[in-house]
Amino acid sequence: MTIQPTLRKLLTIVCEAELENSLLREFAHHGVTGYTITEARGHGAHGTRDAAWPASANIRIEVLCEERVALEIVESLQEKFYQNFGMVSFLSDVQVLRPEKF
């Protein structure tokens, strides 16, 4: 086997679609090199968000990065957004091939 997967963190954030730009600024600030977004809907402490119109749409963002960066972002999110916005985030361990990329 020629490939050697390396461990990285996958940070997944589910939040109100309106936060997209704010989060992208946040990522840029923490030096994140990439992210992936899918449209989502859901339910949580802030009620049901059914994506029937922009005000009730969620997005689901994934960021592959080093653990340190992931924790920094999560901490910053908690401080800035957790109180006022519908938002959930979680970290998981994933293996990647090109560790220098993330």
Binding site: S22, G47, A52, W53, A55, F81
Partner: protein, 313 residues
């Protein structure tokens, strides 16, 4: 009928939502319809505008905007002091009611057209002008005393917002191209307008049904506010229109602009600029109560008022 048939589509959506039908309007259709409506209203306004010397609109425009600032400035203390809502919520709701609902405006135009009442073509300019000052006021009130106000992003957010870009863009295209240049587009933007409005109202009904639950938490004060405020603002609109010598149709439209509460531009802007305000309350009031109230009661009332008060001032 006392109200526009398109309103039946709103009621259908509302019923479908309340009986928990599996009818769902895809979010993308909502967005497509709102792009269409904003653009079409802008285009129509632009074509009409070409008939007026633009300069003559400056003064009336200023007056209309200045008078309109009374709405959020009155609404805020009412909500904050009398209604005992937190500062952020009161400011956010004030901003919603100070701004305008494009769809309510469209229904009022339909209402007039169905009765053969004409209105000044440049009312769309007022629609554009009234969209954002109240949002600024709302944010300013919400942030009073806090140093953290960043106006740059908010101004950008508002002026580059979808609704302003499409309304203003449509206005300019209509103005530049003129009635003749736009003619090949009439078939889409003008002939289909009312049908598209009906579909949009169907969707709004579904959305509003989901918002009614939020209202239970809101309490009786907000319910009263969401019906009395538009009536007062509508009266203000009729009076202002008389002062500006607008026709009865123009008075109805200005009353509708003053009386209506935004739920396209305002929710997006407030969510970012005043994050501590609970959107369920402001949207619930604007979309759950005031929007249907204006459709069913408000617009006919403003029409009645406009006829009564014509020439009084």
């Amino acid at each position: 009928m006392p109200f526009e048939p398109v309103i039946l589509f709103f009621l259908l959506g509302l019923c479908a939502g309340l009986i928990r039908s599996d009818l769902k309007i895809p979010g993308v259709l909502y967005e497509s319809l709102s792009i269409f409506l904003l653009l079409a209203i802008g285009l129509k306004g632009g074509v009409e505008l070409a008939r007026y010397p633009l300069m003559e609109l400056a003064l009336p425009g200023l007056i209309v905007v200045l008078v309109a600032t009374l709405i959020p400035l009155t609404a805020f203390p009412l909500l904050h002091r009398v209604g005992r809502l937190p500062r952020a919520d009161a400011a956010s709701i004030a901003a919603h009611y100070g701004s305008v609902s494009v769809v309510t405006f469209a229904v009022a135009s339909s209402f007039l057209a169905a009765r053969g009442v004409s209105a000044e073509g440049y009312m769309v300019v007022f629609l554009v002008l009234l969209e954002f000052p109240a949002l600024m006021i709302g944010v300013a009130i919400a942030r009073r005393g806090s140093a953290s106000a960043k106006w740059g992003p908010l101004l950008h957010e508002v002026f580059s917002g979808k609704s302003i870009v499409l309304l203003l863009g449509g206005l300019i295209i209509g103005w530049v191209a003129g009635a003749d240049g736009i003619k090949p587009l009439d078939r889409l933007f003008f002939d289909l307008f009312k049908g598209m409005l009906a579909l949009f109202l169907l969707e709004m009904g579904l959305v509003a049904a989901g918002r009614l639950a939020d209202l239970r938490r809101a309490g009786p004060f907000l319910l009263a506010f969401a019906t009395v405020m538009p009536l007062c603002a509508g009266l203000l609109g009729v009076v202002t229109a008389n002062f500006l010598d607008l026709s009865v149709g123009g008075a109805v439209l200005l009353a509708t602009l003053y009386a209506s509460a935004s739920y396209i531009a305002a929710p997006a802007a407030m969510r970012i600029a005043v994050p501590e305000a609970n959107p369920a309350i402001s949207i619930g009031a604007a979309l759950g109560i005031t929007f249907p109230f204006n459709l069913l009661v408000g617009i006919p009332a403003y029409h009645w008022l406009a006829i009564r008060l014509q020439g009084v001032i």
